[in-house]
Subunit: 340 residues, 2 copies
Amino acid sequence: MLDDRKLDVLKAIVTDYVSSQEPVGSRALVERHALNVSPATVRNDMAALEDEGYITQPHTSAGRIPTDKGYRLFVDRLATVKPLSPAEKRAIHTFMHGALDVDDVVTRTVRLLAQITHQVAIVQYPVSVTAILRHVELVSLTSHRVLLVMITSNGRVEQRVVELAEHQEADLAALRATINQAVVGVAPAVAVERLGALLPEFSVQNRVQASPVISAMLELLAADPSHRVVVGGVPNLTRFSDQFETTVKPVLEALEEQVVLLHLLGEATRGSQGDVTVRIGRENSYERLRSTSVVASSYGTTDDAWATLGIVGPTRMDYPSTMAAVRAVARYVGRFLHEG
Amino acid sequence: MLDDRKLDVLKAIVTDYVSSQEPVGSRALVERHALNVSPATVRNDMAALEDEGYITQPHTSAGRIPTDKGYRLFVDRLATVKPLSPAEKRAIHTFMHGALDVDDVVTRTVRLLAQITHQVAIVQYPVSVTAILRHVELVSLTSHRVLLVMITSNGRVEQRVVELAEHQEADLAALRATINQAVVGVAPAVAVERLGALLPEFSVQNRVQASPVISAMLELLAADPSHRVVVGGVPNLTRFSDQFETTVKPVLEALEEQVVLLHLLGEATRGSQGDVTVRIGRENSYERLRSTSVVASSYGTTDDAWATLGIVGPTRMDYPSTMAAVRAVARYVGRFLHEG
DNA sequence: CTTGGCACTCAGATTGCGCGAGTGCCAGTG
DNA sequence: CACTGGCACTCGCGCAATCTGAGTGCCAAG
């Protein structure tokens, strides 16, 4: 049904449309690409492509633009990987050089992604599969309040204020020692069990204080830090000030909702270990983003830190470059987290 | 020069223009406001107001719109406080109810502000003037890395990874004890001095490990946490999709730069203890935001937690409502932080 | 000082028109 | 049978001309 030339034509249409932002006609196509056929022939191919739903006409006397289905075919079978420019490679190194803790890495990554893709970047906090608890600290704030701090081996620090009955410094010290003895050196999942087993061991008197602290710890352990995302490069949206209603507005709304972002990233990378995934237009389940695309990738390794990152932009985007950039950043950050 | 009626006219112009978004003419003015004079009279007043620079004509045959100077006069002398609606008061309570730590308060505040002003909200992290150091923790990550955690009495936790020469757990314990003995219970400013005096006391051998830790602490203490800001309500910008170049784009760009935001807030609240401040158009030093206004207020008390919050929007905004909302939120959050 | 009247201005909407990019179809050709 | 040149047709877009009316400034009268 679709011979090689028709595919070439589709590829040419996508390429030209993405760079010019305007419907592309048969003559322009043969002029700018070495198709070695006449415009008339291209027109026949276009008619076929349109019948199959890969391209469409905005109005009768205009050129063609790709449909979501057209982009999909392009991404799946026609796009060739475009290597990163030296400048982009340099950017990756300069941006990430000297990053210390996880917060820093995430912040830098989101800026980096935004800069080289010229899109809105989203990075999910990595969750460390191999992390173990290093230390639990209890600090008295007032006579009725204690600050609970949990430190894990990958450099994450989680905190929570706990309301408590009147307590003495000595009580805290004992509680701290007991808890640390139980959970330091074990994985979060194991810590949950240990803590559950711990409570009955306290005397009734001490249990009044231990109980709220332990439930707070359980909550912190359950509250997966990878549920947090960071966003950057929002001003890149201004490049699409035409398409305000279809791109700028919906994306701004989506960015405000962490849940939506997590859903988008998760949906995009589901099932595709490690490689770049693209969701085009209506393929995104989030209604408002049906005229935008998400390019995402997981990063890190399954037995180490693992999370996803990606970008959001109009369906009309330069997929080869964007995919290459997302892949490169994901790999680099993955390695960086693993080694550093 | 400006009699009462001229001021009434200016007030009417500002009010109508803000609500209609269109230049307002003399006839519309007398119809919608009880000025008790004819359009011709109003025209004379308008001519005077224009001579003085309070209003201007976009083009010859159009109505008048206020200038920055006109808004300034309106805000200073003409605006009457518009009390919050019951719904808004309810919103304040529901949003803030149940907030626990500082992070949570800031996050909720920014959402709240965005919701009731319908503008982009900015909240600076509060810095506690009376805060004292509660605890310093050192946690071994690898043989060459240590996680430094500083906990202050107001519930803030600051962390930093420190690169270190090879170390033993015992070394760390000693170092931890020494540092805690020196700084726990004192204010950050005092801690800086104590730490400076501490270094010479270490043996040459121990100094290799103490030195990087102490400099990291000094950096953390110097890095004022109030330098962090949180932003929300960005989608509210979509209401101004006309004015894309003058409002949406510059604001998005400013939001990406924490430094700019801090500067804006600081500039706006400088010298005006506790009350709402308005900076209109060109009064803002940041070049790109010369056609937007900032409504800001400090919150908290000088001897307690203290910081600023505010909103950014087009100069053409409903100042009475916005100012009332910013003031109410600032006061509520201030009290909330104080009481706990 | 206020007001009604009046001439004047000019931005924005409306209309009409020609251009040209682009198409679909068809008959001719290798 | 695939490709091509030719041709008639469509129709969005840009441009100029026109019209409308909101709004103004000024003036003379109350």
